[in-house]
């Protein structure tokens, strides 16, 4: 598991498939080879009022870690991450009387997955309850586990095929974690942040 950076690619009046096709062409021209598809999904549950102070649980799955269910519990003051095995989904079903899911908020990012050298690139089409919302590009540099060490290198790679839309500073999420060892839950955090923004944005395209 290496450092992963999630980047939102501006759509600018184009359709989702057109952007994916454009990016696929670019990455293929660099010598990338497609290795299957990927899917990251997120479902959000809220506690029922009888439980008192309202809490939210986000349950996410990542096809890169197929046997794991990630969940993030938001208590209002802090966020508690949890990585469990597949049975957690069934547990959530059992708890449906305490935590109810908001049906309209199921978010997904899916699309082709490429490998190029030691990089792994995923071009994801984001949908929230099956409405197209935007494009998320995930780039993972697998040999390196500390963001501080490889940020410059990843920036160069990102700018190489995404152009000037890449910021020169690391994403906000990394600000206090640049020297920590990167773990899969960090990827999940990034996805959730983006999904939350996508959900809040009005129907259609987020700028």
């Amino acid at each position: 598991m290496g450092v992963t950076i999630l980047h939102q690619f501006p759509v600018e009046n184009r359709t989702g498939p057109a952007v994916i096709e454009l990016l696929t062409k670019r990455i293929a021209a660099l010598g990338a080879v497609q290795h299957g598809q990927f899917l990251v999904d997120c479902e959000t549950y809220s506690s029922v009022p009888q439980l008192g102070h309202q809490r939210t649980v986000h349950v996410l799955h990542n096809s890169e870690q197929p046997a794991t269910v990630f969940s993030l519990l938001e208590t209002g003051t802090k966020t508690i991450p949890l990585a469990t095995d597949g049975l957690f989904d069934l547990l959530m079903m059992k708890m449906s009387s305490f935590y109810t899911s908001k049906k309209q908020t199921k978010a997904e990012s899916k699309g082709p997955r490429f490998e190029i050298g030691d990089f792994c690139v995923k071009l994801g089409t984001v949908t929230v309850s099956s409405n197209f919302k935007g494009i998320l590009v995930e780039v993972e540099y697998r040999p390196c586990i500390v963001p501080q060490m490889c940020w410059e290198l990843m920036k160069e790679f990102l700018q190489g095929f995404l152009g000037s839309s890449v910021l020169s500073n690391p994403p906000v999420y990394f600000q206090n974690k640049m020297n920590d060892v990167y773990t899969p839950i960090d990827t999940i955090h990034q996805y959730l942040e983006h999904f939350t923004i996508f959900r809040k944005s009005p129907a259609g395209i987020r700028t």
């Binding site: 598991m1 660099l30 010598g31 190029i116 050298g117 030691d118 990089f119 540099y141 697998r142 040999p143 390196c144 586990i145 500390v146 501080q148 060490m149 490889c150 410059e152 290198l153 160069e156 790679f157 190489g160 060892v181």
Partner: protein, 295 residues
């Protein structure tokens, strides 16, 4: 020894001459009177000829006796060691073995002689490509062997190296008593598995932190496979049979420069990536980072 052989040669020669002259007597006796003796007094001529040859044979015989008297008798029977038993070999195809044995013995002798010569010449002209300078004080510490040293010596060197580089963590295991296998974790960047043969670095594999500690499989990441390749080059470069300790230390010093593998751009092209790889080469002297293609 040299004189013995000379005398033996001259004795053999005189025997040869004697034999050929004796043969001439028998020749002329068996031919009897020939046409070239003419008609008048041919018997007399024949007898004179025979007498002449007999005189020569006499002198030859004296020569032989003289040279044989000069020879020194070897003391006792020759000891051939275990090769004597080869003469008792009955199978046909193995009877030639003794000849081959002697031949190979001659070859080994030659090899010894030539390698001694080559050793002398090479010692006089140093072909070492590295930048090391040999000072006389260091040369005095020369060890004759660097793959058969006591475990304590190796242990000392490893401890020294460990102390020298605070950001390299060394873990030692000894599957074979004298030959340690060390795992050098370089910060959070990579982990090198280094196998020693005595004081000599024999094998290096570089892998990511999470990968298996097996030294025979390659890393699954291209960048570490490349670094492994370069480590092999450096291992050969720094290898020095005269000063094995220095070789280990310089190699570790060079290896230590990989701590910024992902974070520094190439010294030549200024970019981080080339062929989707960071600068995987470190200059052997200046330790500056270069891409494989830029160095």
């Amino acid at each position: 020894m040299e004189r013995d052989i000379e005398q033996l040669n001259s004795a053999l020669n005189s025997v040869k001459v004697l034999r050929s002259n004796v043969r001439r007597i028998f020749d002329s006796v068996s031919n009897g009177l020939r046409a070239d003796h003419g008609d008048d007094g041919k018997e007399n001529k024949f007898i004179t000829e025979l007498q002449e040859i007999l005189t020569t044979v006499n002198t030859n015989l004296r020569d032989v006796e003289g040279s044989v008297a000069n020879l020194t008798t070897p003391g006792g029977p020759f000891s051939l060691g275990n090769t004597t038993y080869l003469s008792q070999e009955t199978t046909l195809e193995r009877q030639a073995l003794y000849g081959q044995l002697v031949n190979s013995y001659k070859w080994t002798d030659k090899i010894r002689e030539y390698s001694a010569l080559a050793g002398n010449i090479l010692a006089a002209n140093s072909f070492n490509k590295s930048y090391k300078t040999f000072s006389t004080t260091k040369r005095r510490k020369t060890q004759t062997s660097n793959h058969n040293v006591s475990p304590e010596v190796i242990e000392n060197i490893i401890t020294n190296v460990d102390r020298l580089f605070p950001d390299i963590t060394l873990t030692t295991s000894r599957p074979f008593v004298a030959n340690p296998l060390i795992q050098a974790s370089l910060g959070r960047v990579l982990r090198g598995h280094i196998a020693f043969k005595g004081l000599m670095i024999e094998w290096v594999v570089v892998k990511a932190h999470g990968e298996s500690t097996d030294i025979w499989t390659e890393s699954r990441y291209k960048v570490f496979r490349k670094v492994t390749e370069n480590c092999h080059a450096a291992m050969c470069h720094f290898h020095s049979p005269m000063m094995p300790e220095l070789a280990v230390r310089s190699f570790m010093h060079w290896f230590h420069s990989y701590q910024n593998l992902f974070s520094v751009p190439c010294k030549r092209c200024g970019n981080h990536l080339h062929n989707n790889l960071p600068p995987t080469w470190r200059d052997l002297r200046t330790l500056e980072p270069y891409h494989e293609e830029c160095k």
